[in-house]
Subunit: 677 residues, 2 copies
């Protein structure tokens, strides 16, 4: 752009100016990646002593769990913290993983940006090749001591190898000392890392204990043992022996690719033609699709991939946008699943006796920049959860709890941008973290979780991702709201119930006594006042693993009633008592059970009873009971069977009452504008 203006400083001596450009040039130099992170340790999460202590442990435990899962081993991880003096701690993390081959140990622990999972499109905790070596570096910077690493791979001939490792920050290469074979007292195979670091051991929300506890929640297949600096040992017991399905590695999906991506893939391809490249190097591109893409883009498919030009790439990307490509496969992901989320939450929150666990939501997979991801959400409400503060947020990414940088996280943003007043929580102006007795859990699983920094503390706000989190939250919140509505209705009708069941008869008795007349039969009066079918659940707990469930159904209407009841029961907990009950009809594979009550006479009641036993017994929520075959306005204590329930209820056959059906609160489930922050 031309500029007429003569800058003021041109009057200054010219020699000086020229000198400046040259002087500046002499200062230009390369910055080593190690030096960069050494100077910017807050980026890796080492910005306070307490956080540093946690970060190192987190990186090591993440690696242990990843390694065990890759090898199909049920993880057994132990964490020990010893306090050496005021600020110096010795940390030891040991696992029963597959071990690391001797010659790879130095680079794995002593070199930043070195790892096995960076290029793999598959869900894993560690992906950057930074975490554990940063821990080794930071331990060394703060205490001057090397990390001591031991690893043993399986095999009767194999020995364990131990070595001291330090990173040379100028070259980003490991310096190894005391490398020798040794007798390991640990597992048959596995890895242990011991390092000394300046830190501060804290308790509470952002503590090592909290991190390990939350890790146990979302990794119920892992056994985690923790020795804290005071010598207390805590074992987070393995809750299941079933390994989560092992995520499969996938090829890049063409969705959301940039020109640079396709050019790079083409340059690296071992395929002979562009057509083969499209077909074989990407996920979900079939022979037919490859042909279609090449036809539309007018690119010669017989060219070698490395001959792909920028114009070809643009044309191919444009063509890709116009063809229909299947969503990326999801066996590369490992979501936690509704039941385990609920089970995990219950396990941890037991002391708070929450009133309600909203059914967790697992969304179907989407992709961002070609990386598939799944969002899961759960809400716990009421009981002894503090009601006067902001709701507690539990954030997870690839089964790793996120304890820091809540404010920076797309999960928090999605929560803050939702109007929770519509779902029964307090929130000033319908924005910000809501207030109330609730805990909100969100898990993001992806082949590539977009963290905001190398410290992996918060998920970045990619619009597609934030919108999915919002949708999962809304679905879950809708469950909460319907529960709160139900509770409110129940409370209201309970008052009515008390009047007719206790106060009216009492009054009648007194009046009769007073007048010296016989007590009148109130059945018809009560029936006229109530005019409902009343379902009243009760659950009797017997120990931790047995629940006796009873539904009492009162017919306070003037006609005999025939209807069905429906509930989803944890099928692992079901026993014979369910199937032998007189009203029982059937149950499907998902545990959706049906009962039928026939011709229940007016002013009488009946019961449905069954037992649940075992680990999953306490996950059953007796308030989640549905009916069919009755007009909804005449039922209290159960919800009308929703259309998406998947099993058939009864058509409404008796319509002597008004057909008025309460209108559902309008639900706009479209993503709101979930743009940047």
């Amino acid at each position: 752009m031309p500029s007429e203006e003569v800058p003021k400083e041109t009057a200054a001596p010219k020699e000086k100016k020229t000198a400046i450009a040259h002087k500046l040039a002499t200062k230009q130099q390369e910055i080593s990646v190690t030096e960069f992170f050494e100077k910017n340790k807050q980026i890796l999460g080492f910005d306070s002593r307490s956080k540093s202590l946690l970060m190192g442990i987190k990186e090591a435990v993440d690696n242990s769990l990843d390694a065990c899962e890759e090898a199909g081993i049920l993880p057994d991880v132990s964490v020990r913290i010893d306090r050496l003096n005021e600020e110096d701690y010795r940390i030891c993390i040991e696992d029963n993983g597959p071990g690391i081959v001797h010659k790879m140990m130095p680079n794995v622990f002593g070199r930043l940006l070195y790892g096995s999972r960076f290029h793999a499109l598959r869900q894993s905790r560690g992906q950057q090749g930074i975490g554990i070596s940063a821990t080794v570096m930071y331990g060394n910077i703060t205490t001057g001591k090397p990390a001591h690493v031991i690893s043993k791979i399986e095999g009767e001939d194999e020995v364990a190898w131990g070595m001291d490792i330090v990173i040379d920050t100028k070259t980003n290469r490991p310096i190894v000392t005391n490398d020798k074979a040794l007798q390991w007292e640990g597992h048959e195979h596995g890895t242990s890392i011991e390092y000394t670091i300046k830190g501060r051991y804290v308790t509470g929300k952002q503590s090592v204990f909290e991190y390990l506890k939350n890790t146990a929640i979302v990794n119920p297949h892992a056994q985690i043992t923790f020795h804290d600096p005071d010598g207390t040992k805590t074992v987070f017991e393995r809750a299941t022996d079933i390994m989560p399905p092992k995520p499969k590695e996938i090829k890049p999906h063409p969705e959301g690719m940039e020109i640079g991506d396709i050019l790079k893939y083409a340059g690296n391809s071992s395929q002979k033609t562009i057509k083969a490249f499209l077909k074989n190097d990407f996920s979900r591109i079939t022979e037919r699709l490859a042909t279609e893409i090449l036809e539309k883009s007018k690119v010669n498919g017989e060219k070698k991939p490395e001959k792909l030009t920028r114009e070809d790439a643009i044309a191919i990307l444009d063509a890709i946008k116009t063809v229909k490509i299947m969503a990326p496969p999801t066996d590369c992901l490992s979501p936690i699943g509704d039941t385990l989320i609920k089970k995990g939450l219950m396990h941890v929150l037991d002391g708070l006796r929450p009133e309600y666990y909203a059914t967790p939501v697992t969304r179907s997979p989407k992709a961002v920049n070609g990386n598939p991801f799944i969002v899961e959400a759960g809400i716990v409400y009421g009981g002894d959860i503090p009601a006067d503060g902001q709701v507690q947020i539990l954030r997870f990414a690839n089964r790793v709890p996120l304890l820091y940088q809540q404010g920076a996280c797309a999960i928090t943003k999605a929560i803050s941008e939702m109007d929770w007043r519509r779902y029964g929580l307090e929130q000033r102006g319908g924005k910000g973290i809501p207030f109330g007795p609730a805990i909100i859990l969100v898990h993001v699983a992806s082949t590539k979780v977009p963290f905001t920094s190398e410290g992996k503390e918060a998920v970045a706000g990619f619009p597609e991702l934030q919108s999915e989190i919002g949708l999962a939250l809304r679905l879950c919140a809708r469950n909460l709201k319907s529960h709160l509505n139900k509770m409110e209705r129940k409370n209201k009708t309970h008052a009515k119930f008390e009047i007719v069941q206790e106060i009216l008869p009492d009054m009648a008795k007194k009046a009769a006594d007073h007048l010296g007349r016989p007590v009148p039969n109130l059945d018809r009066t009560i029936t006229r006042i109530m005019n409902v079918v009343w379902v009243e659940p009760t659950v009797k707990k017997e120990g931790k693993k047995l629940r006796k469930v009873t539904y009492t159904i009162y017919n306070y209407t003037s006609l005999p009633r025939t209807f069905r009841l429906h509930a989803q029961v944890p099928k692992e907990a079901v026993n014979l008592s369910l199937f032998t009950h007189e009203h029982f009809l059937d149950m499907n594979d998902e545990g959706k059970a049906n009962w039928e009550v026939k011709d229940l006479p007016p002013s009488t009641n009946t019961t449905i009873e069954f037992e649940l036993s075992g680990d999953m017994a306490d996950t059953f929520d007796a308030d989640d009971i549905y009916f069919s075959g009755l007009n909804p306005v005449m039922v209290m204590g159960a919800e009308m069977l929703p259309g998406d329930w998947g099993i058939k209820g009864m058509e409404i056959v008796q319509t002597d009452e008004s057909d008025f059906v309460e209108e559902d609160e309008e639900e706009t489930m479209e993503a709101e504008d979930l743009g940047d922050e």
Copy 2:
């Protein structure tokens, strides 16, 4: 740690396990820094199209301002955005800086982790050597096009050089094409970069416009021209020709150093002895201090620095903690300063006509990890600033506005952790971002701002830093609170004033008329009711640059009064009218002016008048008026001269009234616990 337990999986075939460790080993590989950032573009701030558009411009403008300041040139920066098609934008940023030497151009723009400011301990905007090359990379990835860079250094013989630059992401090295000398239509010297990028142009809070506007606020010496995609040209005019003092480069300060730091410095030192190393390679270590540190640490000061052991380093660091070392020098920093913060805020917020600008606070420097930093804060209140939402937060780091990641920022955390209810703002539970008609500005200046990620969007929560931000905010909020108190008192007494000045005389007149008697003299009555000295400021605006200030002082007490008034006036705006006024006493270098009123008779008044003219005239707040020589309980409309005002007022000599002095609200100015989040 020994483990008795036999892991479950040992039953599995052994060959498979061994294979896994070896299979995993084959996947271990180096990750290039360019590949890392290419895959983690959200870390650099390129996580949405709109943010990407802003990020690139921000990096280029930061570099332009840095370069101009290093060369002592008043910056003249222009930004042009052209929209090529739906998502493709061509961006051009041009400056009048010193230019870049031809052979350095490829690395500066085409290589990550390469720069001149990373190792320098001195305030600058860019420090990482990542930003502009990341922009070049991201532009290339998304559009396939190279960046075009032109630079010309000063000198009559010099020509401009232009070249196209692309980064090879495998090697992190620039690929240069079309490198040639050319005629530049730009400035006499300077640099221009033009690149194409996929983006989205947005307006509002996180827009390019907003970023440039805020940049102009805190860089009043810069001229910034903006051509938006619609062809609209906006010029943010240079507000001052005075360059901010050029930050000096300093040596590392021993405060907060880690063992690794001192070992590294020792290894790199060119000094002959450890003593010379301590004395010459660090800031604030004198000959005497070096001797003392060596004596206390029992380290041999005559050894070569490279012979320093880990034990020596620990001993030296321990010794450093016990000796008194001066705070780091601060000429490496360039704070904005109270006046310019206020001026800048006024300039931008003009339309909102705020009621009050709390005097901005510039804290004295502190250090974190040996890096000096200064925190500045300002608050604007009332007027047309929306009162029903959260306060607006303006965040700056090293004179760069931070528009994203507000939730992740130590500035936001410091604001959220303060109980603003004590300072007149609404805040639920005394936590979180407060609500009310206020805008809070915080600037952090440091030789090394600890950003939470390479995108430089938020400041990390180092405890020392967050605590300083909290202190600056509290000081500023105290000003706000005292203003709000003053306003409240003023409103109350104004009601009283109206009664005695208007209603009472009116009533007296009516009563007298009614009775046919002469109107009584109410002076003594009014005096008895009021019993105060009343200071009433009025400001007459004449155009943008002239203010006529009048203080009317009424003596509504029963005795003659002698007292002084004190005000801080913008000394650049003062003219003869101040010095020639009958009550004027003197004014110091800071613009603190004093007036004396002698023996003002009861029931009379007098005035103090002066004019302010020029650019700074409107920064004067006439309500900031102080008195001395009177008992505070008998003064309305002025505050008692604070003890820290720095100039001498008058002792209170007349004490015929009660000596009761209103107790100041208790101010615990110690840092609250500002730990992690």
